[in-house]
Amino acid sequence: MHELALAEGIVATALKEAERAGLKVTEICVRMGELQQIDEELFKSVLRDIIKVEDERVREAEVVFLKEEAVLRCRVCGHEWTFGESMGNLSEEDVELIHFVPEMAHIYIGCPECGSPDFEITKGRGIWIEYIKGERWTPGSP
């Protein structure tokens, strides 16, 4: 399951930040970009499961999820559109390949106005940590 690899990244980042700042993490806000087509329920469940068994500085953290629509902008003609508008032209296999490596969108999607594959992914690429909140922590404290 590919979602687990991404969830591990979130926990590893939270732990690193906790260690750096001497904090116990109380809240992690995760932004899920539409382009990566993450299985939302699976991802939430996997992330909550691995947090529970992590280091004590992370294991009680609440996770807040935000969803972000994917927006693309053509570098050739400047047209801006949403990934949702291109979804209808994609096969299930195309979507799966974009799920693993979102940049594969450049292969399977073209600008609806001029057809160019040279576009920017301006929003909603994939998983991102919006913020991490914590409280001061000393080893052995509850």
């Binding site: 399951m1 590919h2 687990l4 690899a5 991404l6 591990e8 990244g9 979130i10 590893a12 980042t13 732990l15 690193k16 930040e17 995760v30 799966e96 390949l97 693993f100 490596v101 979102p102 940049e103 594969m104 450049h106 292969i107 594959p117 040279d118 992914i121 690429r125 994939g126 998983i127 991102w128 940590i129 991490i132």
Partner: protein, 243 residues
């Protein structure tokens, strides 16, 4: 914050050595060197991985005669095994389609592959670097902290000029350099040895231009019988003793 960056070190922690085959200039034989080196290491019994980081012109699969295969999912993705080598490439996702990606998208795709690929325990990961000394090289140095560079050049002044520039940048970045290798050596032309040795890094050797190499592309048995492979085997001895 990008959550993928924190997990890359974990993905690479069970790899003893990462060898980035680079050189800056296109067409000097980096991909063939990386591919045959991985084959030779595997033949010697080393657990070997091979990563093609040339997203715009991936060619390792062509050299190995490997078909793009969607990697299996298991807590990430597992590189398909090709001739005993764990092989990861953008072609597993792009197929034979052109990948019109650039700049930040190349960095993002590199980070994604490094974050999700579960190499497991390896003695060597050989990385085929794309031409150029920009984004991909900087990303390789930033993301694969234990990468050591092996630089391939030809005797051409054009190639030597680029490799000198790359070398100077890698030295500035404090990257470990295994040495330089002159490929496609022409007997009647001056050797690059003296010039490369003057740069202060080990000169690993010369491999003569091998007319038989092209006919063996896609066939690993033939590849391993070429004069190129014979030459690279000698170089490999120095790479193994350079640890």
């Amino acid at each position: 914050m990008d959550p993928r960056l924190a997990v890359i070190d974990r993905r690479l922690e069970d790899i003893a050595r990462i060898i980035a085959v680079s050189g800056g200039k296109g067409g000097v034989g980096k991909s063939v060197t990386a591919s045959v080196m991985a084959l030779l290491l595997s033949k010697l019994g080393y657990r070997t991985g091979l990563l093609d980081l040339d997203f715009c012109g991936p060619s390792v699969h062509t050299i190995l005669g490997a078909k793009p295969t969607l990697p299996e999912e298991d807590r990430g993705v597992v590189p398909p095994e090709v001739h005993g080598i764990r092989f990861m490439s953008i072609v597993h996702y792009a197929g034979e389609n052109p990948s019109p990606i650039r700049g930040v998208d190349i960095s993002n795709a590199t980070i994604e592959l490094l974050a999700i690929t579960r190499w497991g325990s390896l003695d060597f990961l050989v990385v085929d670097m794309p031409p150029g000394i920009g984004d991909a090289t900087l990303d390789a140095v930033r993301l694969m902290k234990k990468a050591e560079f092996l630089l391939v050049t030809t005797g051409s002044k054009v190639s030597l000029a680029v490799v000198r520039r790359l070398l100077s940048m890698l030295v500035e970045l404090k990257v470990r350099i295994i040495g330089t290798l002159e490929n496609m050596r022409m007997k009647d032309l001056p050797s690059a040895r003296e010039e490369m040795e003057a740069l202060g890094v080990p000169f690993l050797g010369e491999i003569e231009f091998d007319r038989g190499l092209e006919g063996s592309i896609g066939d690993v048995e033939k590849l391993l019988r070429t004069r190129f492979a014979e030459g690279l085997e000698k170089v490999l001895g120095k790479v193994l003793s350079s640890a």
